[in-house]
Amino acid sequence: MKIAIPMDEKDLKTSVCPSFGRAPYFLIYNTESGESLFLDNSAVASQGGAGIKAAQTLVDSGVKALLTPRCGENAEEVLRTAEISIFKTIAGTAQQNIDAFKANQLSVLNDIHPGFHGQKG
């Protein structure tokens, strides 16, 4: 499956971007093939609704999950409607988060069910 991570730089060994809507790039990582590519986030230049536009980019890219430290409610609504799961990243690099995700160690962002950790798409 494909997952997305907001990034400041185009390098898996750098840390995850603290912002979702205004992250300069999205890492699109294929957990089966290990392939990765970086998409430009066109929402960076938006006056408003950046989260919505960023989420639309992900919807159009076919990812099934987003790993992010934070996510605004509008973006969350887009992703939820599109059935894209959102996981909370841990401090560290994109690679560390990918490994944690594969090991089911990441928890869902804004837990609705307490104690529900990790979820394969």
Binding site: S46, Q47, A50, A55, D60, A82
Partner: protein, 302 residues
Amino acid sequence: MTFIRDFMVKKGEDMRIAVLSGKGGTGKTLVSVNLASAADSAVYIDCDVEEPDGHLFFKPQIVSSEEIAVKLPSIDNGLCNGCRKCVDFCKFNALAFIKGRPCVFEDVCHSCGGCTLVCPERAITETDRAVGEIRKGTSGSVTAYTGILKPGEESGVPIIKRIMQASGSEGDALRIIDCPPGSACVVVESIRDADYCILVAEPTVFGVHNLNMVYGLVKLFNKPFGAVLNKCLDGENPAEKFCIENSIPIIGRIPFDTELGKMNSDAEIAARESKKYKELFSDLLRTAMKEARRETAFDTQR
């Protein structure tokens, strides 16, 4: 009638005085509320729709209230062909295309009507979305209009546009417009129809900096103006110096006074509670109206 007190609005005269300052806390509401109260009769319009304070002083008897709504697109999924023209058009990212259909995000929608126009299938119609409210009330000789923006809403401009329209239907009257702080688009909207602008300044370097901003704004819109120096203490007053250097007429000075501060902090109207302040604000009103008439060359021979 052979004698007309010169601060009464003359028959057939419509006078709009806007009160502004570069920043909050300078005394805009103090001045507007008390000017309106000092007049024989006046309409007070609170355009600070994010944080309206005037009503806390007037505690008006509410006569009517009006919900302010803007247009929100509504999509008929039966007619939608999935072309995404609406999503691509929207400059505000208020539309997203998810699972084969467009979804509207109302809190970022600017109600421009663009999506409705570009849809080739006419699948988009418009419904109303409430963004705030206008309340009209009375408090003694003052008719008070209060504009309130719902928290979280982006723009107060539609509310200000409507409040100016609604209060305009009062006929000829003295109107005191309590403007939002700053110099952003909401302030521009509030002073648009003003005949005269009062710039309130405090005696600090912040006060001067902020006075400079609204000074620039009123000049840009060619509005006649004068300054009121508030919270004046002994010693050098940087705002006064600025006015003198820039030939800004100083039409009033309000000394710093703990008594006034206390009345204000208890939301009491000084011009109603204290003879001293009734006189001070009556004088100020008289001067402002004289300046306004002079500047706008009113024909007083009616």
